[in-house]
């Protein structure tokens, strides 16, 4: 199964693999959400949505529906 930011749990880190440019706002790219960059889930809002992330040093929150569009590689695999 394709892993996305939405499948990460609080405190987990991963590397952004790719995404469909159409599906996510340009603003997110500008804040550093680009393939190859590190992402960490800092907090999950009380009702499970949105997610509070650290992407490439930028602290920001996005909704689950956007997080589902961003494919990731779990950190352990990329380190090999």
């Amino acid at each position: 199964m394709r892993q996305t930011i939405a499948s990460l749990k609080k405190g987990e880190k991963a590397v952004i693999r790719d995404f469909d440019v159409e599906a996510i706002p340009l603003k997110l790219l500008e804040m550093g959400c680009l393939p190859g960059n590190l992402v960490e889930v800092l907090q999950v809002a009380p009702l499970g949505d949105p997610l509070y992330l650290n992407i490439n040093g930028s602290h920001l929150a996005i909704r689950l529906e956007t997080a589902r569009e961003i494919a990731i590689d779990p950190l352990t695999i990329t380190l090999q």
């Binding site: 706002p25 340009l26 603003k27 949105p50 509070y52 040093g57 920001l60």
Partner: protein
């Protein structure tokens, strides 16, 4: 004008970089706030004295993450940078960056460098470098980024003098770009370059991708031959962003060192508490409770003082100015009218103070994060919380604050329901009516009944906004992708200077804006109330004398009887009488009718109108409005006009009715259509009439 000699400086930067505090540091109190022509984006200009007796105009442009604009605020930035003919076109741009978010902030910097405008990189918040373990190789960064760098702390005021020196020497700044972004699609950009050899490539690119006005070029011409599909353009923009980040990462690899071992951050601990599933909400509601409590208890003293001061000012004017029409106008029209506005100042200032502190501290973003999922069930966004809270001060800035909601449907619904929240203009109406009809008693030993009523009215306002949003979400058929990106800035202690300047500016804008309308209306009202057509008005004294031939009145009673005969037959009396049949079922008499008509432009006029109506022909000005209303007797029923049923009916009418011309105007501007303000007007006022009608009929 000396402006030809002044250097034009533009401040540009991401939100949350302390750009406004840099602006405040440079300009102090020398600031002017206006609007860009045709739109409601705030235009802040300040003046700054530089070394060698040189002066500068400092323009504080809206915060933006990049030159790819997604809102009218961000458009302003691009339009300013593309229009060399603008008289504020910058000689030099200061890009303000936060030292903790240098990587992201440099994206905007590299874009601006591509426009070949002299640019200084201002790295702010230098006071946090130690705590974060950050060190910078400034000469290296200057060489790589082809710029001059000022490392400053707007909080501590360090580095400002060096920055000023750099501004003075702006002509020696390099203007070449620091990276070549056109290599992402050489074929496309080469064609573009050949067709428009005299134009800057990056400018052309911005014109193609952005919806901005560009004076020197025919946009349609470029667009027709060079436009690609939105998807293709976005792909190129993505490539451009990646390219820029690659460059920035390279530069920072050698130019910035972060020692994580010494980095301390209480962000994580604070976030854990403030976004906790129980504590997070508990703290949020506790803060709201404290805000509303303190606004009412702290404002009461200055408000009473203002009220009585204006009452005695009226008396003074009436006693010491020569008797005549002009004195009447001043004592009975202008002074009570102005008093009606000034009395708002304490509450508005307190509200803006709290909102400004919550925004400055970074807490507001946590509320957005916490509330998003809940608000979405009602068709709103987490970002709607800020407008709904600001709406308790005034709907106008609140509706403008919806601009950062990315999804159009969520934004539209927020705009439409925000006027339901209890704005400060409703407060004086509520305050006076509650004082008249709700006894000052305590229930359960501690709760003040009047305060409880007021709180209930606030809850009704919020509740209606939420329910209306839910219904609109079901009714409106608008589809769109729901984008939601919110930056979570680091926590900061609010700076006194920023907060106080913000409060001062917002309060001033409100008082001037509302003040002009209220003053004009109170003069017109006074005129309409002190003149009338026909004999019934002009020969009021003879008519009254004739009515009481058998039992002559005392001198005072006679005067009062003449005054009320006059008011009833004045122009405004005739107007009030005309609408009386429509409002009588709501429990209102013709005098209240007058106040309803005049407060259509702005709610707060209600109190001013009653003040004016009851002051006209009244010899005893020392009486406050409240006392005058308290003693008003309905001539037909012999009961108090402001009885319990009428009072509650009025309170609910004002809770729902769209009595604010400025809100309608701002809704028109922000939605670009008359359809939405018309919807607000019909739905809100229709609801108000119905609720007031039912309430009065049940309670009477």
């Amino acid at each position: 004008m000396t402006s030809t000699k002044n250097i034009n400086v533009a401040l540009i930067g991401n939100p949350n970089t302390g750009k406004t505090s840099v602006f405040n540091q440079l300009t102090g109190l020398n600031q002017q706030v206006g609007n860009y022509p045709g739109i409601t984006v705030e235009k802040k200009i300040g003046f700054c004295k530089l070394p060698y007796n040189i002066k500068a105009n400092i323009l504080d442009l809206p915060g933006t993450y990049s030159l790819n604009a997604s809102s009218i605020d961000e458009n302003v930035v691009i339009e300013m940078l593309l229009n060399k003919n603008d008289k504020l076109y910058p000689d030099v741009v200061l890009v303000v960056a936060d030292v903790e978010n240098l990587k992201r902030n440099l994206l905007l910097f590299t874009q601006i460098k591509d426009l070949e405008i002299p640019t200084i990189l201002v790295i702010n918040m230098a006071d946090r470098m130690g705590a974060k373990g950050i060190s910078l190789d400034v000469p290296y960064l200057e060489a790589q980024l082809k710029t001059k760098i000022a490392v400053i702390s707007s909080r501590k005021g360090t580095g400002i003098d060096e920055l000023k020196k750099l501004i003075v020497a702006y002509q020696s700044l390099p203007t070449e770009p620091c990276l070549n972004a056109s290599i992402i699609d050489p074929e496309y950009f080469n064609r573009l370059r050949k067709t428009f050899p005299n134009q800057l490539l990056y400018k052309l690119w911005l014109v193609i991708t952005q919806d901005v006005n560009f004076a020197q070029l025919d946009r349609n011409e470029i667009r027709n031959s060079y436009t690609r599909s939105q998807t293709e353009l976005k792909k190129i923009q993505q490539k451009e962003t990646i390219k820029r980040y690659q460059f920035i990462n390279e530069v920072l690899k050698d130019g910035q060192k972060i020692n994580l071992a010494t980095a301390k951050d209480f962000r994580i601990q604070l976030d854990r508490i403030l976004t906790h599933k129980v504590w997070g909400y508990a703290i949020f509601f506790a803060i709201l409770f404290v805000i509303f409590q303190s606004i009412f208890s702290w404002s009461a003293v200055p408000m009473d003082f203002i009220d009585s001061t204006f009452a005695s000012l009226s008396t003074l004017a009436a006693q010491h100015l020569p008797a005549g029409v002009l004195t009447d106008l001043i004592a009975q029209g202008i002074i009570p009218g102005i008093g009606g506005i000034v009395i708002f100042i304490p509450q508005i200032a307190f509200l803006f103070l709290f909102i400004s502190m919550l925004e400055e501290s970074g807490y507001m973003s946590r509320v957005v994060f916490l509330m998003d999922k809940i608000m979405r069930r009602f068709g709103l966004s987490g970002k709607s919380v800020v407008p709904l809270i600001s709406g308790t001060a005034c709907a106008i800035p609140a509706i403008m604050a919806t601009r950062n909601i990315e999804n159009w449907k969520e934004r539209l619904i927020t705009i439409l329901v925000t006027p339901f929240t209890t704005c400060s203009a409703r407060l004086p109406v509520y305050a006076i009516i509650i004082a008249l009809v709700i006894p000052e008693k305590r229930v359960l030993g501690i709760l003040n009944l009047q305060g409880l009523t007021l709180m209930l009215l606030y809850l009704i306002g919020f509740g209606t906004a939420i329910v209306a949003a839910y219904l609109l979400n079901k009714i409106l058929k608008i589809n769109g992708k729901t984008y939601f990106v919110v930056e979570m800035p680091g926590y900061k202690l609010p700076m006194f200077k920023n907060v106080s300047l913000n409060v001062l500016e917002k309060t001033k804008a409100f008082v001037w804006g509302a003040g002009k309308i209220i003053l004009a209306i109170s003069i017109v009202l006074w005129f309409l109330a002190s003149s009338g057509p026909g004999n019934a008005f002009h020969h009021a004294d003879q008519i009254v004398a004739a009515q009481h031939l058998s039992e002559p009145l005392s001198a005072t009673d006679f005067e009062n009887a003449v005054a009320s005969q006059k008011l009833e037959n004045s122009y405004i009396g005739i107007m009030g009488k005309a609408i009386e049949p429509a409002i009588a079922p709501l429990g209102y008499d013709w005098k209240i009718g007058i106040a309803l008509i005049s407060s259509f432009a702005a709610r707060e006029v209600f109190v001013g109108t009653l003040a004016t109506i009851y002051s006209v022909g009244d010899t005893d000005n020392e009486n406050t409005i409240k006392n005058k209303m308290q003693t008003e007797i309905h001539p037909d029923t012999g009961q108090k006009v402001f009885n319990f049923a009428t009072g509650i009916s009025l309170l609910l009418f004002y809770a729902f009715a769209m009595q604010c011309a400025s809100t309608l105007a701002i809704t028109k501007k922000e939605t670009n259509s008359w359809k939405w303000p018309a919807t607000q007007l019909v739905l809100m006022s229709g609801l108000a009439y119905l609720v007031a009608l039912v309430t009065y009929q049940i309670l009477k």
